[in-house]
């Protein structure tokens, strides 16, 4: 994967065990802060019906979609069962000088 690190948000803008939306180049992304205080990033729209995951609920490793409660592991992107059947794309992240960067490749 080519490097294309993009500044997504301030690290302290995302609460622990929560998610925040971020747009870049007309695409939506979701930035997660895990209970272990690590950052992760995925595509921002649910693979079921393209709903913003940033309105969903983070529980441990799981993001639950606000529309039909479909669940993904946001660390791996794995869809955890109906009604979501297609995995989420994930992106590498790093924190530098209090900012969260994601590698869009």
């Amino acid at each position: 994967m080519a490097d294309n690190w993009v500044d997504a948000c301030a690290a302290d803008a995302v609460d622990e065990e929560d998610v925040m939306g971020f747009s870049h180049g007309g695409q939506n992304y979701a930035i997660y802060r895990s209970p272990e205080d690590k950052f992760y990033a995925t595509d921002g729209l649910c693979t079921h019906e393209q709903v913003e995951l940033a309105d969903g609920l983070v529980m441990g490793d799981i993001i639950e979609c606000p529309m039909h409660n479909g669940r993904f592991n946001y660390k791996t992107g794995e869809a955890k069962g109906a009604p979501v059947c297609v995995n989420l794309k994930t992106y590498p992240t790093k924190v530098e000088s209090g900012r969260v960067l994601i590698n869009l490749g």
């Binding site: 309105d55 969903g56 529309m67 039909h68 409660n69």
Partner: protein, 361 residues
């Protein structure tokens, strides 16, 4: 003769809804700060475990009483209680566990979901997907498979729902079709093909249990097994669930993108709310399906300034809105109740047609 719309999901109304931008559309949502919404969405096993233990204990109590007094008139109230649990309260357990919000622990949701599906004779996968569509396209004609009463309404058909007859008959027919490894054409439009084997598997398991109850009744020369398991308890117990369920959308708008116009919140007493798992907060549930049933009263408080004043009771809902609307829609299917909003609310858009409301920031 009033014009009848085509409610089929594979008919012309489906394409019409898509072309009008009513399918998979953006709906109006009341503004709730993210922090508050996160609190409301929090899952907890405690409330659901408490309510499920009580539910199971009531089943045991009513089944024991019905068996003990079997053959005398005293068994009747016990069967009424058992039937309401079996044929009515299973609906809300199916619903809430289908959303995955009742329990925090996933396998508990799945377990109660399957048990409730069996009782209410709904295929777990088909209904999971049908309900998904109901939430995407709520009361959009040609898109929503769960529109309970089509216009112009047949009052006979509505009355029969209370006896669970059409429900049990259609459910048995589908059980046999699914067990034979087939789906109905409209079901195939909303259930992904990858899930079809699960439909067939569950139908075969459910059918085997139904057959086992009949075999037990024959073997023991007793009606009791089929009074407790299968279509009979669904039929003699469905009435209260239907009474609750018809309050959700009847008489309200079709083809709008604002749940305040197409869903109804009704205040209910604590016994009803236990049986119905707070689904009387129906506008709230549709607008924010992530909020578990035990938090719906709090969500109601959070958004009530932006939603229509709820009906004060089921009696008010039926006599003030539902029955008059059903009566009038027999000859005027376009008749729609538009519930007034408090002055603090974001107004409905000028018409009750599609895309009428402006989403909150």
């Amino acid at each position: 003769m009033p014009m009848k719309r085509d409610y089929s999901l594979v008919g012309p109304e489906n394409a019409a809804a898509v072309s009008k931008g009513l399918a998979n559309a953006q709906w109006y949502r009341c503004a709730v700060p993210r922090k508050q919404m996160k609190e409301l969405m929090q899952r907890s096993d405690a409330a659901a475990i408490r309510d499920t233990i009580l539910w199971v204990l009531l089943f045991i109590l009513f089944a024991a009483g019905a068996t003990y007094f079997w053959g005398t008139w005293i068994c009747v109230p016990f069967f009424i209680g058992y039937g309401v649990l079996y044929g009515s309260s299973s609906d809300s357990r199916w619903h809430e566990c289908g959303h995955g919000t009742a329990f925090k622990t996933r396998w508990l949701n799945d377990l109660v979901y399957k048990v409730a599906c069996f009782m209410i004779m709904r295929d777990p996968e088909v209904w999971r997907w049908s309900h998904t569509r109901h939430h995407t396209d709520t009361i959009i004609v040609g898109r929503d498979p769960e529109i309970a009463v089509q216009r112009p309404p047949s009052l006979w058909k509505v009355a029969l729902y209370f006896f669970g007859w059409p429900t049990a008959y259609v459910a048995l027919k589908k059980l046999v079709i699914h067990s034979a490894g087939r789906l109905l054409p409209d079901e195939a439009t909303w259930v992904p093909e990858s899930e079809w084997p699960k439909v067939y598997r569950d139908a075969r398991i459910f059918l085997a249990i139904h057959i086992a109850a009949v075999v037990a009744a024959i073997a023991f020369h007793s009606w009791l097994p089929v009074m407790f398991v299968g279509p009979l308890p669904l039929m003699y117990g469905a009435w209260l669930g239907v009474y609750f369920g018809l309050t959700q959308h009847i008489g309200l708008a079709e083809d709008v993108l604002d749940h305040r116009l197409c869903a109804r919140t009704v205040y209910m007493n604590p016994i009803f709310r236990f049986l119905y798992l707070n689904m009387n907060y129906h506008v709230e549930h549709h607008m924010f399906p992530m909020v578990p049933y035990h938090a719906l009263p709090k969500l109601h408080q959070a958004i009530k300034a932006d939603t229509p004043t709820p009906c004060a009771s089921t009696i008010e809902a039926y006599f003030g809105e539902i029955l008059p609307a059903l009566w009038r829609q027999r000859n005027d299917p376009g008749y729609t109740i538009r519930r007034p909003l408090p002055s603090s609310a974001t107004p409905y858009a000028a018409t009750s047609g599609p895309a009428v409301a402006v989403p909150a920031e």
